[in-house]
């Protein structure tokens, strides 16, 4: 142990992997990240963006067709009143959770590696919540009545039922979106100032300047800014846990067999983080390659996220098995029948997809080789993305397709409108993300600079001597 500290720069005994590789200076960070916004986009950007715009058009057409015609164009029936619409809603809202987890919970727990990925993950949160918000709004059928969700009385002076989880959901999701926007924007202010200071042209300088609010990076400003950021992180942490808990209340507070369980809130939150991290990696692995950000989003970052996927995936697997156990152990014959139908009934193929993709495939991440081979990481993340969608489909459709009375049973198949609406939201999601890359700094520059070794007040440039090693004073201490 002792000989490790006798080197000339007095490195810590246990060396940590650096968060930014190749000892890049601060100006390199600025140039590389601002360059993405300031230079022309690579050809691949357009190759991806044009289909996304087309899919947005498809989404718009499907929504217009639905509103103009009625929900009969979907495959919903009685008893399956919640088909793909709510499946997609829960799927997208869950994806958003990883962004908030990275930005808020990892901030509070002082996980410095979050700085490379939090900005893009927060943007992903916003776009996922936008996609999610479409579905509850349109599934009400008469879209023009959607204002009934807002806390204002209707024409008869009747107010909303605030005891309903569906109304809690309205408040939870809208609060989540608003607070995520605030958190994201507050984080952006110093970086917008960087873009402003580099901009030469009029509109660009004016636009970034406007949103940078005249940020000057004075320590008297940083003091309040950091407190605001800390408080927003502290507020977002319980918020993100509450949102998916409230979403799960939509199911758990009902008496439908297969929904009526107390395990739902933690199980939904773990699943949301699980699916969200898979989506973060799905977006970030290609992005770091295309834009040359390998020194900022390092194998260590991907390794850490893969470990979180492994952890949350295993929690989800535990929840699946516990659900089965409780349905048997609880002795309720309706619950038993619901889970027999889920695992061995008409939709059992979906259950198999879910279990394989979410529980079995992520176990590959126990192996270091699999966490460091990007092709394997991408493949696993794609499985998780699909598996988490199947999880929501399994939970929603199998439970209500066959509930209490066999006479009321019916099966559900999506129509083309539902399928293309869902595909269209992917276009919206990726299109918004590409626009985000085009106009905003994808990586939080000010935070990256804060975790560089040079920003440590005790940092010494390589080659200088310390007191301990040589017993000499350092005379090039430039500060104060």
């Amino acid at each position: 142990m002792a000989e490790a500290s006798t080197s000339d720069t007095a490195r810590p005994v246990i060396a940590r992997e650096s968060l930014v590789l190749n000892e890049r200076p601060m100006s390199w960070v600025t140039n590389r990240i601002c360059g993405i916004v300031e230079n022309r986009q690579p050809f691949l950007w357009w190759v991806l963006f044009v289909p996304c715009v087309m899919l947005m058009g498809v989404l718009g057409y499907c929504l217009a067709y639905l509103v103009a015609t009625g929900v009969g164009v979907w495959g919903n029936n009685h008893p399956v009143g919640w088909g793909w619409a709510i499946t997609n809603f829960v799927f997208w809202i869950g994806i958003g959770h990883a962004g908030t987890l990275i930005s808020a919970i990892l901030f509070l727990t002082r996980q410095k590696w979050r700085t490379s990925v939090n900005r893009a993950a927060e943007a992903m949160t916003l776009f996922a919540v936008i996609c999610a918000g479409i579905f509850p709004a349109i599934h009400v059928g008469r879209f023009w009545m959607v204002w009934f969700l807002a806390p204002v009385p209707n024409a008869n002076g009747i107010w909303q039922n605030f005891k309903s989880p569906l109304l809690w959901d309205v408040f939870a999701v809208s609060t989540y979106f608003t607070v995520s926007v605030i958190f994201w924007y507050v984080g952006l202010i110093p970086d917008l100032a960087t873009l402003r200071d580099r901009a030469k042209r009029g509109i660009r300088k004016a636009a970034y300047g406007f949103f940078a609010l005249g940020w000057r990076g004075g320590n008297r400003q940083w003091r309040h800014y950091e407190m605001a950021y800390l408080l927003l992180a502290a507020l977002s942490t319980p918020l993100v846990l509450s949102v998916h808990s409230v979403v799960s209340f939509d199911f758990a507070t009902s008496i439908v067999p297969g929904w009526h369980t107390t395990i739902f809130p933690p199980y939904f939150v773990a699943g949301a983080i699980f699916g969200g991290f898979a989506m973060v990696l799905t977006l970030m692995i290609p992005a770091r390659k295309i834009y040359g950000l390998q020194d900022l989003i390092t194998p260590k970052h991907i390794d850490n996220m893969a470990k979180i996927i492994l952890l949350t995936g295993t929690i989800v697997g535990y929840a699946y098995i516990m659900e089965l156990f409780i349905s048997w152990y609880g002795g309720n014959k309706y619950e038993q029948a619901a889970f027999a139908n889920r695992t061995g009934g008409y939709y059992s193929w979906a259950y198999v997809c879910m279990f394989t993709c979410n529980v079995i495939v992520p176990q590959l991440f126990w192996f270091r080789y699999c966490r460091h081979n990007l092709w394997i990481v991408m493949a696993v993340c794609m499985c998780v993305n699909a598996g988490m969608w199947f999880e929501r489909f399994v939970i929603i459709v199998t439970s209500i397709a066959q509930d209490f009375l066999p006479g009321a049973w019916d099966f559900y198949h999506p129509s083309w409108v539902e399928i293309w609406t869902f595909v269209g939201t992917f276009g919206l999601f990726l299109g918004l993300f590409l626009l985000f890359i085009r106009f905003f700094p994808v990586i939080a520059m000010s935070e990256i600079k804060g975790v560089l070794p040079k920003s440590d007040p005790h940092y010494l440039p390589p080659g200088t001597f310390t007191h301990d090693a040589e017993g000499r004073e350092i005379d090039n201490d430039g500060e104060q």
């Binding site: 002076g157 009747i158 110093p190 990076g217 004075g218 407190m227 319980p238 509450s242 007040p457």
Partner: protein
């Protein structure tokens, strides 16, 4: 700087420097108090919104649940959400007010080299409003402390 008795000065850096608050003699930000008050307002707003609409104005009976204070637990989720919402807005606008932002026309922006604060440069700014300020002595002091690129910025405030 602090020991020299200056009051109106600041350190501009591309990232927050931890430990500088105590070096500059600044106390903890008071923002948390505002946010606490904002959050409490949110809790109260949500409670009143739900209690008044469900119990007072239009007693709402759904699934035989009573329209009274006994259904308080069912009001908790919305109370929680509005607490977070109000507190977050207070954090945003509170920090803007405490930082005197937005302010797009600060004299510092006249300086060409100051734009590097957001890249990789560190600046120390002493305002002429400071009672200790004098053109020559302050410049000499900055020079003595090892400052480089010292510049006098003259502009209307």
């Amino acid at each position: 700087m602090r020991d020299a008795g200056f009051k109106r000065w600041d350190v501009h850096s591309p990232f927050p420097i931890h430990g500088l608050d105590s070096a500059m003699g600044l106390s903890k930000s008071s923002l948390s108090w505002f946010v606490f008050i904002g959050g409490a307002t949110g809790t109260l707003t949500a409670f009143l919104l739900q209690f008044i609409t469900q119990v007072v104005i239009y007693p709402t009976y759904v699934q035989d649940k009573p329209a009274s204070i006994t259904t308080l637990p069912a009001f908790f989720p919305v109370m929680f959400e509005l607490t977070v919402l109000f507190a977050a807005f207070t954090a945003l606008f509170g920090s803007m007010i405490l930082n005197r932002l937005p302010r797009w026309n600060h004299p510092l922006f006249v300086s060409e080299q100051f734009t590097r604060f957001s890249d990789d440069a560190f600046f120390l700014c002493i305002e002429a409003r400071d009672p200790q300020f004098s053109k020559e002595e302050t410049k000499a002091l900055l020079k003595k402390m090892g400052g480089t690129n010292i510049e006098l910025i003259e502009d209307e405030i």
